[in-house]
């Protein structure tokens, strides 16, 4: 759906009756004007003849810029390759050279010239209290700006938990009425990429999918790319066998922590968090929170700030029955050291039964829209 009908510069020239020969000499002229050696002519010609880069505008509203920072951490593709070769990032307050009305001009040029064709990226939530005065850019409210831009966008990506569900500023009591993007705009496909921030390669991977396959990736019931958000951190965690065996960290830096046991009892939210951390890990695969000894805080889930305190282990969660038994499992295994192997077999069987029940429950929940994301 991102396939574009934008003419390349060469096609545009052709439509005006310019011959291939004229075009080549124009390229040579441009090369000379730019002070480049003649060997650069084919490169320039190729640049003019190939598909134009996808125009992209990136908005910042109520956010902390951690999504932009994460984006530039991408190891594949490298961020320079994306912004120089793959997309045309025409508006982004964090990186663009222009400021003030020159920046606004660049934005409006893209919105006019590529109406219906540009990709809109949104970082941050949108405050709706007090007539929007809690976030103004160029004298206009965030709501005003995003609604205008969404009307001409081909597709929208909601970066991070702020745009997807309001994140920290929407935590109780949400003083500015910080609102997620999907409650502000409509009529355009929204891809949600939650996380605080999302993993760098999940962000660039979503863009690469759009560019390489000319279509939106498969999304789950909450609008998130299935490729990155279809598995719980718990199910892809390398410490999971410790959980299954009832081996838990009881307090930070205790003997069990030093052995890398499961962090469930010190608050890990892995069992209720859908994200790719356990598989892709962070910053080029170096580690992820659990590997570095701290439980997952569930940063890609709606309202995760209000599901705390972070260091209390999860209470009984609908659909996650097995987690509530963790203390009992731990006790049982502790008492049954002699019959360790048998205990493990029993635990594994209990787990499997629960897993099946859980799977059935989860698919019902998604169908029912139980986990509808919302920031308020």
């Amino acid at each position: 759906m991102i396939a574009t009908s934008r003419p390349t510069i060469w096609e545009h020239a052709q439509s005006r009756g310019v011959s291939r020969r004229d075009c080549l000499s124009a390229c040579a002229w441009m090369t000379a004007m730019l002070g480049l050696p003649a060997t650069a002519v084919p490169e320039i010609t190729k640049a003019l003849e190939t598909k134009p880069r996808l125009p992209v505008v990136w908005f910042h509203f109520q956010e902390c810029t951690c999504c932009s920072e994460s984006f530039i951490r991408s190891s594949h593709p490298a961020v320079a390759d994306i912004i120089l070769d793959k997309i045309s990032l025409d508006y982004t307050e964090t990186l663009q050279a222009a400021a003030g009305h020159q920046a606004e001009e660049a934005l409006h040029e893209t919105m006019t010239k590529y109406k219906g064709e540009y990709l809109m990226l949104v970082e941050g939530s949108i405050p709706t209290a007090a007539n929007g005065v809690y976030c103004c850019i160029g004298g206009r409210t965030a709501q005003d700006i995003v609604q205008e831009a969404a009307a001409g966008a081909k597709a929208v990506i909601a970066w991070g938990s702020c745009a997807c569900n309001g994140c920290v500023q929407a935590a109780k009591p949400n003083p500015t009425r910080a609102t997620p993007l999907h409650k502000i705009i409509s009529g355009v496909p929204i891809i949600k990429v939650p996380g605080c921030p999302p993993i760098a390669e999940v962000m660039t991977g979503t863009i690469v999918h759009l560019l390489a396959f000319d279509r939106v990736p498969q999304l789950d019931g909450l609008g998130r790319p299935k490729a990155f958000y279809s598995r719980r951190v718990h199910d892809t965690c390398y410490r999971r066998p410790n959980y299954d065996a009832g081996l838990f960290v009881n307090s930070f830096d205790d003997e069990n922590a030093k052995r890398g046991y499961c962090l469930y009892k010190v608050g890990c939210r892995g069992p209720v968090t859908y994200n790719a951390c356990g598989v892709m890990r962070w910053n080029g695969g170096v580690s992820f929170p659990i590997q570095s000894g701290h439980g997952c805080i569930g940063c890609s889930e709606a309202n995760f700030w209000d599901n705390g305190p972070f260091y209390h282990h999860l209470p009984s969660f609908p659909g996650f029955g097995i987690e509530t038994t963790a203390d009992n499992i731990g006790l049982a295994v502790g008492a049954a050291t002699v019959a360790g192997v048998a205990a493990h077999a029993v635990v594994t069987n209990i787990r499997k039964r629960h897993l099946i029940r859980e799977e059935m429950k989860t698919s019902e929940d998604v169908k029912d829209g139980r986990a509808e994301q919302g920031g308020e």
């Binding site: 390229c27 902390c64 949400n174």
Partner: protein
């Protein structure tokens, strides 16, 4: 000639939402107004929560200076509860601090600030052979062949020729204030791309110890990562080796790319050594403890205040003294119960929204009245500049030998007197100079960590006061640190195991705030006065000075409400 009002909104290549309005008269800035135009309300959200969770909320204050708010937060809780963390945890925090500085300062120089001085389009006219000669003459960095620079030039050329200029569209290319020869521009553009690639490496120090970046994990009482040399699931020799390699490579990049570029570009802009000085007072809380955070005398960055640019006297700073740090709101969109002229210490502060600005969409703010979401902090009533320059000046005036040596080296290389530091160029140079120190100190802290482990100490966490049952009914603390952008502090009041009050006074609040009740300007506004403006339509010179502070506005705007008033009921108009 009548003054002309110029509005720059959004100010780009910063973090957050900043608006600057200036009045230009006879080609000079006659007056300036700095406004933060976004507010989220993190402090009110923190109230009533578990103090041990506060770091995670507070860390989300800013994703550019990630980690620093988490650090200030855990320190505030540790201060309130009297927790002393193990030496290894202090060293891990120091290493994360150093990694943050190196990444942040390099990204600021190349990706946020450089385009104020470097003309990308001019780089296309450069002779790559000459660029190569310049590169070899200033550094032993290996990537300096003429072909290498020619390739980069070709890539940028193709990019420009495509007609889609992306992030470089509408830049101030060809502006008369751009002074670099094409060859130096090409060098800087090349390193813009290299730095973009490099910055994602050094942050892996955070990933090792904190699991991810941005927003690695912190822990009240220490660090969450356990040390166990005999375990794959903990910090072991392999993890430490990775950190060692990252720190060594970062030091090389700083010494062979960042600093040589800074020293190559600065001589073309020495006129900026007498522009943008602004305030005459500087403050640093200091950081990087060698002997635990309780002993400021052993901090690598000393603590102190300088008044009226007098380097012979360093005043003491105390976050616990209710008279020293206060915040005022006479020009901020808040109100105080005892009137708009009052100033309050953060422990005693109060906040209530009072938006009196124009209804959007608007063209101009009413700068006679309230005009920003930032409050106005003062130290003993004085406006303070904070940041790399303040840190180095406080260190210099304190007689710190390491800081003195690096500052004198920089002054000698640029052939300018120490007074040249009080300027836009001085601020940008100070940021580079302190990065040299931080890169060296990281090596030292890394060595200390290995030595400590070798001596058998593997503790990372002090859990004595972890359980709320061990806490007093009431406690209050302050967590001080130095963010890359300057002095940062969080004040916390804990009552009945919950946060009763929480407030951040951050670097960009000191620097970017509106004027106070007495009409004293804060750092941004003061530094812009007298700046020459060649073309009012393209106020590049304003960006130079504002960017020299490395603005971070999401940090700067905050609110809290000790009375628990329901702020979300306030409606305007």
């Amino acid at each position: 000639m009548a003054a002309k009002r110029i509005v720059i909104d959004p100010v780009t290549r910063i973090e957050g939402h900043l608006r600057v309005e200036i009045e230009v008269k006879d080609g000079l800035v006659a007056d300036a107004f700095s406004s933060g135009t976004m507010v989220r309300g993190l402090e009110i959200i923190l109230r009533g929560r578990d103090p041990r969770d506060a770091w995670a909320f507070a860390e989300r204050t800013c994703g550019v200076c990630t980690t620093v708010h988490a650090l200030a937060s855990v320190r505030s809780v540790e201060d309130a509860l009297g927790i002393v963390i193990p030496p290894n945890a202090e060293l891990v925090r120091n290493l994360m601090f150093c990694a943050q500085y190196m990444q942040d300062h390099v990204v600021h120089f190349y990706h946020l600030h450089a385009l104020d001085w470097v003309d990308i389009v001019s780089a296309l006219k450069a002779d790559p052979i000459k660029t190569s000669e310049i590169a070899k003459s200033i550094s032993s960095w290996p990537k300096t062949s003429p072909n290498y620079f020619a390739e980069v030039q070709k890539r940028i050329g193709n990019f420009v020729a495509s007609g889609q200029l992306g992030i470089f569209a509408k830049g101030y290319w060809g502006h008369p204030a751009m002074k670099l020869p094409p060859e130096v521009n090409l060098l800087a553009v090349t390193h813009y791309l290299e730095a973009l690639e490099w910055q994602k490496e050094i942050v892996k120090v955070h990933t090792v110890f904190g699991g991810k970046n941005p927003h690695p994990n912190y822990l009240v009482g220490g660090a969450p990562c356990s040390l166990n040399l005999d375990e794959a699931n903990a910090i072991n020799a392999e993890r430490l080796a990775l950190v060692g390699k990252l720190l060594a490579e970062a030091k090389t990049f700083v010494e062979q790319v960042y600093i040589p570029d800074l020293l190559a570009i600065a001589p073309f802009y020495t006129d900026w050594a007498s522009i943008g000085g602004g305030l005459r007072n500087y403050m640093a809380y200091g950081d990087l403890p060698k002997n635990g955070f309780g002993d400021p005398s052993k901090f690598k960055f000393p603590r102190g205040v300088l008044l009226d640019r007098d380097l012979s006297k360093v005043y003491e700073v105390d976050g616990h003294d209710p008279r020293q740090v206060t915040e005022a709101i006479s020009h901020s969109w808040y109100e105080y119960s005892d009137g708009d002229q009052a100033a309050r210490h953060p422990w005693e502060g109060e906040t209530k929204f009072n938006y009196t600005g124009p209804q959007p969409p608007y063209e101009q703010l009413n700068v006679e009245g309230k005009y920003s979401w930032l409050k106005t902090p003062r130290w003993n009533g004085h406006a303070m500049e904070v940041g790399p320059l303040a840190r180095l000046l406080v260190g210099y005036a304190s007689g710190n030998a390491e800081i003195k040596a690096v500052v004198d080296m920089g002054l000698k290389k640029l052939n300018v007197p120490v007074t040249a530091l009080f300027s836009t160029l001085g601020r940008t140079a100070a940021r580079g100079l302190e990065t040299i120190l931080v890169a060296n100190w990281a090596q030292e802290f890394y060595g200390d960590l290995l030595a400590n482990i070798k001596n058998g100490d593997t503790r990372m966490f002090n859990g004595e006061k972890w359980e709320p049952a061990t806490w007093p009914t009431k406690a209050r603390g302050v967590g001080l640190t130095e963010a890359p952008r300057g002095a940062l502090a969080h004040w916390i009041v804990i009552e009945d195991e919950k946060i009763a009050n929480y407030q951040l006074v951050v670097p960009s609040t000191w620097n970017a705030s509106p004027r106070d009740a007495k009409g004293q300007r804060s750092a941004y506004e003061a530094s812009l006065i007298g700046t020459p403006i060649a073309d009012p339509e393209k106020p590049l010179e304003v960006l130079r000075t504002i960017h020299s502070f490395d603005p971070c506005l999401a940090c700067a705007v905050h609110l809290y409400d000790p009375q628990g008033k329901t702020l979300n009921r306030i409606t305007i108009g």
